[in-house]
């Protein structure tokens, strides 16, 4: 799939036209592995990637896709049918790149095989009429033909040189250099195949998951801890590395404008149960690597510590609940679910729920309370109390960040208004009707981590490095041929020289002249190079 101009026609002998399925297959294969097809496939690939950047993609932001469905209810299902929201996993996208890689393999692999012998090949003998070549010159000298060529041979360092004697007392010299251009070229294209293999390996056996860890809590790498996980097709839970991570402390700092300045998590971790704990300062751009599984700090927020008491004053709930940030100033939403409150009058089981809104720097905005800054300068949580059935026992899974309000009623005060209050740390809201109370005991920070295991990434990296080396070699090394013919011409010797550049990087005329000038200079000249 590279410079077709290099491939001498003899290397691809034209088979006699054959009929039937075999002939069709052969001509189809030739068509697929031709440069033209590869070029067209390349452009198709570029074109096919465009919608992936313009339309919302599920893999990047599923919420955007839902939004698009809402805004374009007629168009969205049609687009969805052609995988337009998952372009890079779409069958048609895969068809293009697989065809391209097949074309690439069909071209590169046979050429690699041929290259093994081409690397040992001798330069082709001088053509009969050197003066017909694109770059040629001739001159007379008093030296013998054999002397001229022997001197030239000594000076063609880095060239592969053959000298052949010719009838009539003359001799010719054939030289070639730049064999590694094709090696670089093949290395580049072969590395692309390896890169694809690396990507595929990661996609099949790797996984990526998100986990939220509160300050002071531990996380063990088992499926149960994950908030979400997207495994590869051939992933199995048994492949999860058995490590544990403890979040000792999380710290974020901000610029005066409220933009983030630094995030860092101090963690302790053990590679497997029973291993000694080690410390790590985990930051953005500095993931924690445990046995080829990597932990990335991807987000953070505040977790609220509440204490809920029943009518009798006994503690019914004492826990810390993460509130999820809704904006850049970390105004955050969350809920508290208290299933085990003391039975109410008449023995009816009663559960309590609270929906809360935390503002780390509480200010009064046009639409009520809001957060003016992401750091906790003036923290407060605004709570709304609910009672009734939390729906925890009906077997349906539910989010720990939202209340299912079907079975719940608001707790009302004596005047029939919903019971709500904005609490500062340490303050308590006593619920009307003697239902109980909730105390905002304090808050801490939590961090969200992305856990990634990609068994193909090292292969992909190696392929990328080789690809780059191959590319530079194939673009920099120049493949050149040079011929000299010296024959007696009366009492003197006439020397003909010609050259051929086998790649198009320009100024061969100039280089040819420099080489010839060097070859013609007196042997007494100092050693070149």
């Amino acid at each position: 799939m590279t410079d077709t101009t290099y491939a001498p026609p003899t290397q691809q002998p034209a088979l006699p036209p054959s009929r039937g399925p075999l002939g069709l297959a052969i001509s189809g294969w030739r068509q697929l592995t031709s440069m033209r097809t590869a070029l067209i496939l390349l452009f198709l690939l570029a074109l096919a990637a465009v919608p992936g950047s313009l339309l919302p993609q599920r893999g990047l932001n599923a919420g955007k896709v839902i939004e698009f469905y809402r805004d374009h209810p007629r168009l969205a299902p049609i687009l969805d049918r052609v995988s337009a929201f998952d372009v890079f996993g779409a069958p048609w996208f895969a068809a293009i790149y697989l065809a391209l890689f097949l074309s690439l393999a069909g071209c590169v692999l046979p050429r690699m095989w041929r290259q093994t012998s081409a690397l040992r090949a001798r330069p082709p003998a001088a053509p009969r009429h050197l003066s017909r070549l694109p770059v040629a010159m001739s001159w007379h000298t008093d030296e013998e033909p054999a002397e001229v060529l022997a001197a030239a041979r000594g000076r063609l360092r880095g060239w592969r040189v053959d000298v052949r004697s010719e009838p009539g007392g003359g001799a010719s010299l054939a030289a070639e250099r730049g064999y590694f251009r094709e090696v670089g070229n093949l290395l580049f294209h072969f590395s692309l195949l390896v890169l694809l293999a690396g990507v595929a390996l990661g996609g099949l056996f790797g996984y990526k998951g998100n986990v939220l860890v509160k300050q002071g809590d531990a996380f063990s790498n088992t499926l149960a801890y994950y908030d979400s996980i997207s495994p590869g097709r051939l992933f199995s839970a048994g492949r999860l590395a058995p490590f544990t991570v403890i979040l000792e402390r999380f710290r974020a700092t901000y610029q005066p404008s409220g933009e983030p300045a630094t995030f860092a998590a101090d963690v302790r971790f053990a590679g497997h149960p029973g291993a000694a704990l080690r410390s790590y300062h985990l930051r953005v751009n500095h993931p924690l690597n445990i046995d080829a599984t990597k932990l990335y700090l991807i987000g953070h927020g505040y977790a609220m510590h509440f204490v809920v008491r029943g009518p009798d004053g006994r503690v019914a709930y004492d826990g810390t609940q993460p509130f999820l940030p809704r904006d850049a100033s970390f105004a955050s939403d969350g809920v508290v679910k208290v299933p085990d409150i003391a039975p109410g009058p008449g023995g009816t089981p009663r559960q309590l729920g609270f929906s809360g809104f935390f503002t780390p720097t509480t200010v009064m905005g046009p639409n009520g309370l809001e957060s003016g800054f992401p750091a906790a300068r003036n923290p407060a949580v605004t709570l709304l109390a609910w009672r009734g059935d939390l729906g925890l026992d009906n077997g349906r899974p539910q989010s720990v960040y939202a209340l299912q309000t079907e079975g719940l009623r608001r707790v009302l005060d004596a005047r029939g208004r919903p019971a709500t209050a904005t609490l500062r740390p340490g303050q308590t809201l006593a619920l009307p009707g003697g239902v109980g109370s909730i105390t905002f005991a304090g808050f801490s920070e939590f961090a969200t981590f992305q856990v990634t295991h990609d068994p193909g990434s090292r292969l992909a990296l190696a392929a990328a490095v080789l690809l780059l080396i191959g590319l530079v070699v194939s673009l920099r090394v120049r493949r050149r041929r040079l011929w000299l013919r010296a024959r007696p011409d009366g009492r003197r010797t006439v020397v003909e020289a010609a050259g051929l550049s086998r790649n198009d990087s320009g100024s061969f005329d100039e280089d040819f002249r420099a080489i010839i000038t060097r070859l013609r200079s007196r042997p007494a000249a100092p050693e070149e190079d």
């Binding site: 770059v135 990526k208 933009e259 990087s505």
Partner: protein
Amino acid sequence: MPVDLSLAHRSDTLLFLAVVVYSLAMLGFAAEFSFSRRAGIARALTRADAARAATPATAARIRQPAAVGGAGGIATGPPPGAGPATVGPHPPLRSRLDRSTTGDHLGRIAVVLTGLAFLLHAGSVVTRGMAAHRVPWGNMYEYSSMVALVAVAAFLVLLTRERVRFLGAFVLLFVVLFLGLAGTVLYVPAGPLVPALQSYWIAIHVAAAITASGTFALGAIVTVLYLLRAKYDVLTTTGGRPRVSSVGRLLPPATTLDRVAYRVHAFAFPLWTFAVIAGAIWAESAWGRYWGWDPKETWSFITWVIYAGYLHARATAGWRGRKAAVIALVGFTALTIDYYIVNIFLVGLHSYAGV
């Protein structure tokens, strides 16, 4: 550390001065261009051409591809009086050496002015970085300034290798417009980097992307000139009347432009490849995956694929020449989309790099 405001201000002043001097240099190049038109000897010569002309004693016979100087009044015959041993496709030496005309002087002055403006521009970039205590490519304004600086540097380097002074007016027109856009629409005051950018990879990945982009820009300019010249050649041989392409008369032969364009692209493409790979390595350590089809990644990939197509097309029969040149320009369009459209309109992980 707080931003050094007086240094930041000095950076802005230096950039303004650089734009003024670039504009003067551009006028100088443009004047040289029009003078050479009057003289009718617009010829870009490689140093090889000059060397060849300087040693006519060497009995040489260089057969050029037929396309060289096929049209446009370029002297292609043997120099008058030269013996049969000295057959070359080049115009007489004398007319070129005698070319110390006003135009040539203007051209030299323009080169000096370009060098001066380049130093002012580099000073602006360095002071900006010192003011903010970081690499001076943390947002679109700074990135644009760097791309323009690289384009000028690539032009100056190319000047030492090839006779490409004719490019000056076009390169500086691009640079002045690009810097104008950067200094007005994209301008942001100097400030610190957001956490996601605080990595040594910003020095590697972004620097490579800048160098590749600036070089690709130069390649695109040469390619446009090549297409104009090729069109001019076609029209004059078929008896058509060139309009826009009449500028082709002032340009070097199409083969020279094609070769220069290829050299520039062949330099930029591995750099772009490196920038994408370095970006993937950084993405792996910052976001937990080396490739995620983020809009910036997608468009970098599209750009890479198209430029790869250009390099292949040049080696494919039936695609060489104008078709390949058009592919290179499509690649530059993708690069432009990757920069402006993706940064400003498409929300992705690279959005913090924004305006």
